[in-house]
């Protein structure tokens, strides 16, 4: 069974941290809504770019993915280049399922990222909370039985300090994040130069793998019986991140075809994403990629439980070049600089 690693870690919190072992719980460490908040915060950090990668299982992978994204790849190849602007803007809705002890909730938030064409600039990340609701009627009943505590969503103690409801948090991030984390440091304007043939693209991306592997030597050693990311899991992650950038339609199509052929990737066929939109999907481990066959664009990245039920989703709402940034609140610089972080 796969679980989100931050939730697993939260659940593994040792009783030994409390003053009296197994005794009275610390005030502030509530199993109720406070617990939701603490885990949800981790989800937002992780999901800003991607649904948290799961602790993968050893599920049998028999279904081949070959051909699953063919129609979508064709649509992508027909894509007309978009007029360029100074920022590449990507809008997503994020919904994450969280356990609050006796009941589960869904936390929904919206993020917009503005990646600067100038790699010396900073990326602007805008987050806003939408709502937090009990997951099912049964969860709603359990929540009411618990006294209907206020559900804070991504805001610890409802202090609006991460994704404020009704307001935005604006934070500066590295310009090429998270691509740079996977070892790809091409400026946005040069991503259109990436190959449009799957084999050539694979070769181009795999050329980055040795350097990434070298960087992993600085990582702490994996514990006994564990392993570092493999070439294939790294390539899957990097490719999914690339799909959210202004690559050409040809490169997008090549990415779909390359991913289909990646060892361990399964075809899920035609599905609807967590937002109810129809598309074609492939999966590696518990992570699903849903693509529109009509437009060739990515619809969603989703996490599924072993049962197949989707528990977390990043729903892509649109991506385009824009000329300028949204107007930032008073007291904020006009353009993000290092350490910019303001709410308004």
């Amino acid at each position: 069974m796969r679980r989100k690693v931050m939730r697993t870690l939260a659940e593994a919190r040792p009783d030994g941290l409390d003053p009296v072992p197994g005794g009275v719980r610390a005030p502030g460490r509530r199993r109720g809504s406070g617990w939701v908040a603490m885990v949800a915060v981790a989800v937002v950090v992780a999901a800003v770019v991607t649904v948290p990668r799961l602790w993968m299982d050893g599920r049998e992978t028999t279904a081949t993915a070959a051909g699953t994204l063919d129609v979508a790849a064709e649509a992508a190849r027909r894509q007309v280049p978009l007029p360029e602007g100074n920022y590449w803007s990507v809008t997503t809705l994020i919904s994450a399922e969280e356990s609050a002890g006796r009941y589960r909730v869904t936390v929904t938030s919206k993020t917009e990222r503005f990646l600067p064409r100038d790699p010396a600039g900073f990326q602007l990340l805008a987050m806003t909370g939408l709502h937090t609701r009990p997951l099912t009627a049964k969860d709603a009943a359990a929540w009411r039985a618990a006294g209907s505590p206020r559900l804070c969503g991504d805001d610890t103690d409802c202090e609006n300090d991460v994704s404020p409801v009704g307001r935005h948090r604006y934070t500066a991030m590295p310009s090429l994040w998270p691509l740079d984390d996977s070892g790809l440091t091409l400026p946005l304007s040069r991503l259109v130069e990436l190959p449009v043939e799957p084999a050539a693209l694979r070769e181009r991306l795999l050329a980055l793998w040795p350097a990434y592997q070298e960087r992993m030597k600085d990582w702490p050693p994996a514990p006994k019986g564990a392993a570092l990311p493999t070439r294939d899991t790294w390539l899957w992650s990097l490719s999914l991140d690339l799909l959210a950038t202004p690559v050409s339609g040809g490169t997008r199509a090549a990415l779909y075809q390359m991913l289909e052929d990646l060892p361990g990737v399964r075809g899920l066929g035609r599905v609807t994403d967590a937002g109810g939109r129809p598309g074609a999907a492939i999966a590696m481990g518990g992570e699903q990629l849903v693509v529109s066959e009509e437009t060739g664009q990515v619809l969603a990245r989703q996490d599924a439980a072993a049962s197949g039920r989707v528990v977390n989703a990043v729903l892509f709402q649109g991506a385009k070049w824009v000329g300028k940034l949204p107007r930032l609140p008073k007291g904020c610089p006009k353009v993000p600089v290092r350490d910019t972080d303001c709410v308004g």
């Binding site: 679980r3 998270p178 984390d181 514990p223 361990g264």
Partner: protein, 178 residues
């Protein structure tokens, strides 16, 4: 810190109330940095410092401020090797002590604690500030003294390394078939 955040200096009664409200959380933080045996001293020294500096306590961010003090106190009291060794011992102990009704979940929680041992001290701190101490990224960034965006990036990387430490080799077989 600005004037809005800083209210009037706490009197003894108010400080006692603050101690009662926050002591368990400061203790939990200290244990997560150096194990139970060394934690008591960190906690008492932290509140001693807090009393002396009570004029500086930001009313709206008491906990991050206190944990920041505890963080510095821990560094002053113990050499890094001593503290890290004590913490590793504690983590190994907790990994063995995990209990529960479902064997699979017990194994999973135990595995995540064992994986945490292998991570760097900085990764351990960032991950536990969020998942064990219930701090938001903004609060945790304040404790470790970095910007929120820097914290996002560091947490993102730490989480990835924790995931990597949990990837079991049979996953490779299932994925790669080779």
């Amino acid at each position: 810190m600005n004037d809005v955040e800083r209210a009037q200096v706490l009197d003894e009664k108010e400080f006692a109330a603050l101690y009662d409200a926050t002591h368990p959380r400061v203790f939990a933080y200290a244990v997560s940095r150096c194990g139970r045996q060394l934690a008591e001293e960190v906690v008492s020294e932290t509140f001693a410092v807090a009393w002396r500096r009570r004029a500086d306590i930001p009313r709206r961010a008491v906990l991050p401020w206190l944990l920041g003090v505890a963080r510095n106190v821990t560094r002053e009291l113990y050499r890094d090797e001593v503290r890290q060794a004590a913490l590793e011992n504690a983590l190994r102990g907790w990994a063995k002590e995990v209990t529960g009704d479902v064997a699979e979940e017990v194994a999973r929680r135990s595995a995540v604690l064992s994986a945490l041992v292998a991570l760097s001290d900085e990764d351990k701190e960032l991950l536990t500030l969020v998942s064990w101490h219930g701090l938001s990224s903004a609060q945790a960034a304040r404790v470790v003294g970095c910007s929120v965006s820097a914290f996002f990036v560091r947490l993102h990387r730490a989480r990835r390394r924790l995931e990597a430490a949990l990837l079991v080799p049979k996953e490779e077989e299932a994925c790669g078939g080779r």
